[in-house]
Point group: C2
């Protein structure tokens, strides 16, 4: 370590820890009249929001929540969730955002593993909660969240109903200082094997992530993604790495926020119109659903800026959205990364190019946001060339990456092998710093000694006019090692078989975009593609389904 100059602070000097409470000192205090909206049920101002955070802190303290305790939330996306994202960590406690799309067994596992002591349960999840309640080992008290008039439920150790408790509590609370390296939030991510793993983020990490993200949404690109005059509505679940960190940014800036609860496409379109939403973020699947909603028929979504993440954005979706007035920007991240890593904004060079050239970049993972360091590494921990061609595993350093998995030291050490956080994604990096994700390491198709990117193939297949949705996986093949298999959902009234798909892909082979082994010899046409709890293609499940269809020689299949 270099011997730099480090000076002691003056007597009396205040040491300034980076704490989440600091995010409430600017926009959320200044924009008193701006609103936080929950569906068509509730709206209140930031002035009220600040009071509600204090009321919630008083309620939780009175219920016995202490610094270091873990407090879990099972809710749809709501103003209550936003309040929990502040009040719980600001008490020095840990917010566990329960992934409500996991199976009851997995939810039980994460709650015991995280050592949840208090749980806030939406009335719709009471049956689920009661099903696992007998096996919970650490929970002491519950609070009911409900949108109904019925303010109680048959919940064990119930403290009371959220709104009634808040109404009775004091609207002020003096939040103490503590170490900025205190854990603020935890969330369980599902891998392909084994139990869900708990990532966790400290106050310091969340504050730095918020600041860096705010510079990105405000200052980058010719498009300003979000300024204080925008209206923000998340369309990614709040349990999933804090709705990608954006509610913290929106609150710090004092922006009007709209929480839709459940992601009913019809409701989303209605809220977009009624509340004049200008900025959102979601996975590609939900965007598809919103654009195809009944309420969206003939609607010009002009002025709506959307960040797309979670899955690769393909050019068909980009263009379809554009033709509806929606400006898409791709971004990249994962549960382990808080999540923002990169954003596909344009530099001077790209802005000078043609629209088609720009689109090829607008749908990539993008360039690292301020303070993020990205590299690609081979399997031996050696750094690979940054030439836009060499593929390797994307590895990261940033101030806000999970420092391990909760109570999984071995998995944590593997995540950080060689001192870089491993993403499990195969990518290239070019000299501009642009990240192009080629595949998940485990989803790369290895055929005849060549690597085929399932993502690239999905993009090319999606350009066929009949294709509404597509997933490509590698299927074991005695001759080639693996062969690509395509699972398709077609548009109404359209047909496509393996031969038709081959015709569609041939020109891409001839132009050198893909090699001829990339053409699937077998496809399946289905009505629905399995997704994970956070809306990504569930390739593990897809491989199981295909095996069963092949064994049964299912009529879904079409073979060359």
């Amino acid at each position: 370590m270099l011997k730099t100059k480090i000076l002691p602070a003056a007597d009396n000097a205040y040491q300034y820890p980076l704490l989440i409470k600091r995010l409430l000192m600017s926009g959320a205090r200044y924009e008193k009249t701006r609103e936080i909206v929950y569906r068509d049920q509730l709206r209140f101002s930031y002035a009220t929001f600040n009071e509600r955070v204090a009321r919630l802190a008083n309620v939780l303290s009175a219920a016995g929540v202490k610094a270091g305790d873990t407090v879990a939330v099972m809710d749809w996306d709501s103003h209550r969730y936003l309040e929990c994202m502040f009040a719980i960590p600001m008490l020095g406690a840990v917010l566990h955002t329960i992934n409500i799309r996991l199976s009851p067994d997995q939810i039980l596992y994460t709650m015991n593993h995280a050592e949840d002591k208090f749980v806030l349960v939406n009335s719709e999840f009471v049956p689920l909660y009661k099903g696992i309640e007998g096996h919970l080992t650490t929970v002491e008290k519950t609070i009911l969240l409900t949108d109904t008039a019925h303010k109680t439920a048959d919940l064990p150790n119930l403290v009371g109903e959220y709104e009634s408790l808040l109404a009775a509590a004091s609207p002020s609370y003096e939040f103490a200082d503590f170490d900025e390296n205190s854990v603020a939030t935890t969330f369980y991510t599902t891998g392909t094997t084994g139990n869900p793993k708990g990532v966790y983020f400290t106050h310091r990490q969340l504050v730095l992530h918020t600041l860096s993200m705010a510079t990105v949404v405000g200052s980058l690109d010719s498009i300003r993604l979000m300024g204080t005059d925008d209206v923000y509505m998340p369309i990614t679940p709040m349990f999933h790495v804090h709705a990608w960190g954006m509610p913290y940014v929106a609150t710090m800036l004092g922006i009007k926020q709209v929480y839709p609860g459940r992601y009913d496409p019809e409701l989303l379109v209605k809220l977009w119109r009624d509340e004049k939403v200008t900025f959102s973020h979601c996975v590609p699947t939900i965007l598809q659903m919103v654009m195809h909603a009944k309420a969206a028929e003939g609607v010009d979504f002009g002025g709506w800026k959307l960040i797309i993440g979670g899955s690769a954005l393909n050019s068909s979706l980009y263009k379809a959205a554009k033709s509806r007035g929606i400006q898409l920007t791709a971004a990249y991240g994962m549960s382990e990364t808080c999540p923002l890593i990169s954003c596909a904004h344009m530099n001077e060079e790209l802005l000078a190019g043609s629209e088609d050239e720009r689109i090829t970049y607008r749908i990539k993972a993008g360039v690292p946001v301020p303070l993020v360091d990205a590299a690609i590494m081979d399997a031996n921990g050696q750094m690979l060339p940054v030439d836009g061609e060499t593929q390797g595993e994307l590895v990261l350093r940033a101030p806000w990456l999970t420092q391990g998995y909760f109570r999984e030291p071995q998995k944590g050490a593997e995540l950080w092998e060689h001192g870089w956080m491993h993403t499990g994604d195969v990518a290239t990096l070019d000299s501009m710093g642009y990240i192009d994700i080629r595949d998940r390491i485990k989803d790369v198709i290895k055929t005849g000694g060549e690597w085929i990117s399932s993502l690239e193939l999905e993009d090319l297949i999606s350009r066929h006019a009949a294709v509404k949705e597509v997933a490509v996986v590698g299927i074991a093949d005695p001759q080639w090692g693996e062969r690509p298999f395509a699972l398709l959902v077609l548009r109404d009234g359209q047909a496509l078989n393996a031969r038709g798909l081959k015709e569609h892909l041939k020109p891409f082979v001839e132009e050198g975009h893909i090699n001829k082994w990339a053409i699937p010899t077998q496809i399946a046409v289905v009505t629905d593609i399995p997704k994970t709890s956070v809306g990504k293609l569930d390739k593990k499940r897809i491989r199981v389904d295909i095996g069963q269809w092949q064994a049964a020689n299912s009529p879904f299949l079409s073979t060359l």
Copy 2:
């Protein structure tokens, strides 16, 4: 301290210190083709800039610069200064930005006090340097900076000339990690009494300041002050708290930057036009000079966004700038605060008001930027009401305030008395968080038991059509304690005496803006008002001048 949950990092996990080198990882790497321009003499791309920073690091290392050493710069505002703001701290060394407007004696004092070991000297300052050189106690080596063809100078212990040295050095350098609490920069601020005091900022502080400032320039207000498509030109000296921190922001975002060298108003107008500058910051005096430059005659400055700080912005200047197409935003800070504390942007409430109402806020100090905590305190350390009326000393907490004065523990402890940083400014805070600076504590005029704000009086006087510039100070008075005295510069061909000024101020008394004791009984009409080294009204000097004029019964004076 609360017992929060603090988890050890996983084995292999990389600890991420906040270091200035991280600011080069986003925009400065991504925007390869954008330019950095030095006057009409030199322009190069960010790709070259990155190489030049590495070359400079190699030059300094070869010259013997080690982590912990202090390296001083005496230069006009240039691309070289920007390179020093990165390369020197990135080596773990401390950059001392010498205040070239101080007297030679004061410069000598600061160089010995800061323990400068290396000095980079502009050829124009060689005579000054040689005048003090015999008394420098710590300097070992010098490097020459020059815009002339003559690449050497009679400088003791000269390593060589900057551009020649860079040309010969390697364009790559592996910058090591170190503690984020290492001192990165130091700067000496002049008080009203005693020697200049050294404020200092760590890597962590500068990175956090840069992020917070970037959110402000990008996201706040209906005006986006600076995005990556803007062109930035500083008009505040780089020695003065890093040109208010903006070069770090511009570089992090990868924005085109234009460095004007000396602040010749004619050159500034030329650069503004030729380089299509859209964003700058300066003190009010320089803006006056720019708008009145020969080259500015009849020019519409449409699209130029300017942050005004350093001195209070008055409504006359705001309106004059607006009529020329310039959008002004007031901001507030000082050497001790890195400097950004607040920015006068509009919230929804203010935007809904009339233009006149908005102007009264646009010229105030503004609201704290993200992470800044502001309060007002009485002389006993008690917090005062936040009601927009109660006046007290503005005190601050933020992650980037100087933690003391270098080698002045007593003054550092006073700066931080009661655990808050004392600004020496009298202010009010309102419920929106808006800071309104009423005066310097030492410039408040105490007359007949009432406090009169010299700043407020200056604003009202400046509204008289004949007044070009004004300074108000309190002068000892046997009957009233103090009485306000106004020093005026008039517009060409205009006249104004004490009686005329009284007529102008009477309506403000009648409307209750000021009390009748605020009307000066004596004024002086002069051709020039004394300024400090950073362009502020030098009220210490003004009081001395007035004393001499009064003793000599000078013809400058006009008495009621």
